[in-house]
């Protein structure tokens, strides 16, 4: 059994705000849930499955209580920013198995005006990864960038091209945290955070959230709204492998082929890609690992507007991505799916809409390229794909 065509993304919602001091975490969950359900033409009372990450209280129990639901299925898979793409795959599998028919996936967080939640002090590796002054994601992603440069000759200017492409798209998004175009020089002249990563190689930090509604084919057919068909899903965890870590590739080398095989499509079929962009290096390694170019050639691939929509080789992150638009709760996964669905519906901004966007890809990378991360690839198609 595969999930190809077994479920559809029928509703999406991205919180429009980037600073939310006046709402609690759980109020934001409700706001985005109602937004996505309204987008689909469904009500909270229709929901029979709830998916959330590990920061929404005591597993899914707090959130289900807060929503006032009694779902027949729930899942709180926690792989950082890629969690929500895993939730889409898991929801599709649950729907295919007849466990549920309307799955609600929500993300909310307040790293700007509240507290960001990190709890892994009890992990076996904690004592060996936490004593070195690692106090932010840039520090370990920088290790991956440095090694990639060493092995393949990737340059800071090439990494900067990724930020530039995202910023060109962000100009058209009035809600974007950084809604203006930047140049390669702007990126290279921004302060170094952790060599070789500059401040503008990093994603934005935003409050906010988003939600998705994944439904069965029967429910999708009953709705007036255009849905995106889920064609394939692949997931993988890459870790330090007992002291054998290789910093030059990501778990996308495993999640990608799984998703492509399930969908029955190849990289040549992908018209648009939402690529997780916690940092510029995350994008560079991911496009190599998904097979859009040879390993080590990502730097060349992104030059000369390779990622700019609609005319680049691979139009990406047309909402401005995590690099410029939104990275709510320090987790960019749900917005990756949201923008891919907008592209499938033809509802991205006209300046960045990919013409005839029949098949798209969304990829999440949660955790760290510098130690362990969860990689999840989704392939989506138009309703008749």
């Amino acid at each position: 059994m595969t999930i190809r065509g077994a479920a559809y993304v029928a509703g999406i919602y991205e919180h429009p705000r980037r600073d939310i001091p006046d709402r609690t975490l759980f109020e934001i969950h409700t706001e985005v849930a109602l937004g996505a359900l309204a987008d689909a033409g469904l009500a909270m009372s229709d929901v029979d499955a709830v998916f959330c990450d590990g920061t929404a209280g005591f597993g899914p129990m707090s959130l289900v209580e807060h929503f006032g639901l009694s779902p027949s299925y729930f899942d709180s898979t926690e792989t950082g920013g890629s969690s929500y793409l895993a939730h889409v795959g898991h929801a599709a599998a649950a729907i295919a198995a007849g466990k549920c028919s309307v799955a609600l996936i929500t993300l909310a967080g307040k790293p700007r005006t509240g507290r960001s939640v990190v709890a892994y002090a009890q992990s076996p590796e904690a004592g060996f990864e936490s004593g070195w002054g690692v106090s932010g994601a840039p520090h370990t992603y920088a290790l991956a960038a440095q090694r990639h440069m060493y092995e393949f000759g990737t340059t800071s200017a090439q990494l900067a091209e990724i930020k530039v492409a995202a910023s060109i798209h962000a100009q058209y998004n009035p809600n974007a945290f950084l809604p203006y175009a930047v140049t390669v020089e702007d990126v290279l002249n921004s302060p170094l955070v952790a060599d070789p990563l500059h401040r503008l190689d990093c994603c934005v930090v935003t409050d906010g959230g988003g939600a998705l509604v994944v439904v069965s084919p029967e429910v999708a057919r009953s709705l007036n709204r255009t849905s995106a068909k889920i064609l394939g899903h692949g997931e993988a965890i890459k870790h330090t492998s007992n002291g054998g870590i290789d910093l030059t590739y990501t778990g996308a080398v495993w999640s990608g082929p799984r998703a492509f095989a399930e969908a029955g499509v190849s990289v040549a079929d992908i018209k648009y890609a939402s690529i997780y962009d916690s940092f510029t290096i995350t994008v560079l390694q991911t496009i190599e690992d998904l097979g859009f170019c040879e390993k080590g050639q990502g730097g060349k691939f992104v030059m000369d507007g390779g990622l700019v929509s609609p005319f680049g080789k691979l139009p990406f992150n047309t909402d401005g991505g995590g690099l410029c638009n939104n990275h709510p709760s320090n987790r960019g996964g749900i917005t990756k799916v949201i923008e891919a669905v907008r592209q499938m519906r033809g509802e991205a901004h006209p300046s960045v809409q990919v013409p005839n966007c029949q098949i798209s890809l969304a990829h999440g990378t949660g955790g760290s390229l510098g130690s362990k991360h969860g990689s999840v690839t989704l392939i989506l198609g138009q309703e008749d794909a």
């Binding site: 070195w132 520090h139 290790l143 440095q146 090694r147 060599d195 002291g243 054998g244 910093l247």
Partner: protein, 136 residues
């Protein structure tokens, strides 16, 4: 570069022997007696064959830089440390381990650089293993 802070690590029953040895200037690694692989970080079970038949040995205290970054501004106890280096060092015995490089001119730091281990006492019954450029 100023002396880096040496915050005490999280220690549990599995890692206590390892950290006690660091206090004595020893860096111990585990080897699986069944499949003969070196383990990193300390575990009760081999992550390849899951036996509990693992033993410890005193590792070589040398290696080479596998990758590194210069953190321009730290947080917490590292807030006033100035720019400092986080790295992966590939040990002579095999494992690539996260650590700091100290006593080093940042501009001369490079991947492949030979390094040797130093120990910075945490004052709480353990020492952090860090590396400096090899003396020879």
């Amino acid at each position: 570069m100023t002396m880096l802070p040496a915050p005490a690590p999280v220690i549990n029953s599995t890692t206590a022997e390892f950290w006690k040895a660091t206090k004595e200037g020893r860096f111990i690694l585990q080897r699986c007696d069944a499949c003969n692989i070196v383990l990193w970080f300390p575990r009760r079970n081999c992550p390849k064959c899951w036996t509990e038949d693992v033993s410890t040995f005193d590792a070589e205290q040398t290696g080479t830089v596998y990758s590194f970054t210069v953190v321009r501004k730290g947080k917490g106890v590292f807030q006033d440390a100035g720019p400092f280096v986080i790295a992966y060092v590939e040990l002579a015995d095999g494992p690539r381990i996260m650590t700091n490089i100290v006593d080093c001119d940042i501009d001369s730091l490079h991947i492949g650089m030979p390094v040797e281990m130093v120990f910075h006492d945490t004052g709480e019954g353990s020492a952090l293993y860090r590396f400096r450029p090899a003396s020879r």
